[in-house]
Symmetry: C2
Subunit: 244 residues, 2 copies
Amino acid sequence: MRNIKCIVAYDGTDYCGYQRQGRLRTVQAELEAAANVILKENVKIHASGRTDAGVHARGQVINFLTGCTIPTTRIPYAFNSVLPPDIAILGAEEVPADFHARKCAKRKTYRYRIYCSRFPSPFYRHYAYHVPEDLDLAAMEAAAAYLIGRHDFASFRASGSTVKSTVRTVFAAGLAAGGETTDFCITADGFLYNMVRIIVGTLLEVGRGRIKPAEMAVIIAARERSAAGPTAAPHGLYLERVEY
Amino acid sequence: MRNIKCIVAYDGTDYCGYQRQGRLRTVQAELEAAANVILKENVKIHASGRTDAGVHARGQVINFLTGCTIPTTRIPYAFNSVLPPDIAILGAEEVPADFHARKCAKRKTYRYRIYCSRFPSPFYRHYAYHVPEDLDLAAMEAAAAYLIGRHDFASFRASGSTVKSTVRTVFAAGLAAGGETTDFCITADGFLYNMVRIIVGTLLEVGRGRIKPAEMAVIIAARERSAAGPTAAPHGLYLERVEY
């Protein structure tokens, strides 16, 4: 049995999220159906983590064990020939037997794409969050800096979710020039449920002048969901990269 | 009656082109239906020109005569509130009575977006032409330079189309850095049917080393469709800008 690691990109628009949910259209179901055809065996695909409905991935990582003999370099071509065009395998490599896409992930990077323009763009309607007003980008950048480091991010966790620890380490967080869009990128050792979208919802309030950058320290310290801003829409979010 | 000029962007993916065709879904039909609702009158919308099925517009120009009293600055908001999300009005201004979006157009610019990467991208599947091999961009740039000036472009006209003159003036033609894509941009005083797509199909042959840049002079001089390369796919093409 070989353990194969793949990089996967998908347009999340027409999916009910990554994870298999009965008969709903999910990325996992499509990947496992493709694997079934290509590898001629029922494999269980492990991903670095799930993504919600409408959320995209440019660098999701998956792994699966297979007894098939297709050369590793041919695996992306084989999968892409049967996958729907809104999912693509961008690379494959053989990894040691103990590699697990979720359990071994060390850092993840998410990108949240914001389209600032008076009018909406037909081209970004599924791919960036439209903000019709001007945003104070310097204030957003200053606010984002408070996120960097090891903190309890309970304020940025969807209410109702239960995890053992809400402490995470953010390695980088800031705005990146993205052509016609303004992109917020954040790298951490892990993320709570909806954490990036709640952070972005809060940063957008900072950009609109409703929250001062320094209040981010207070919001983090509150450790209460109600202290942070709203949850930003899913369609601006991309799982950008997973590091091991 | 006021004469209103608007800038329109649309994602051509789900349209059978710009021009009204019976009951098919076209951009013109959607715009006129929206005008009907907003202006409460049946207006005839004139565009700078038609675009084919799958072709996009970032700066199409339209005009229409209306007796309605909506302030011009409110027109984009009014239209966008009823238009489907794959069409957006990006601006409106009142123009003299003799302005006509097609007849008065002086220059048009088209962009053709090429995504060069070993594997296809889910995000560009409707928005750029995927080329899995490396292209010789310098050769393509050199070939494009032959297009600039006043020439008979009969070699780059879809066979079967009939126009009085096939002479056009190209003011600029070349590659532009476009982030993850390579974009070919061309500005001319007018374009023959499928002219940009045949030019791009020919330039891609140059990029693949099958046609030498200097052969562009021979292809232009031939004044025969068969001398040029294939017609590139519609989904990489954008009507970028119209000047008056």
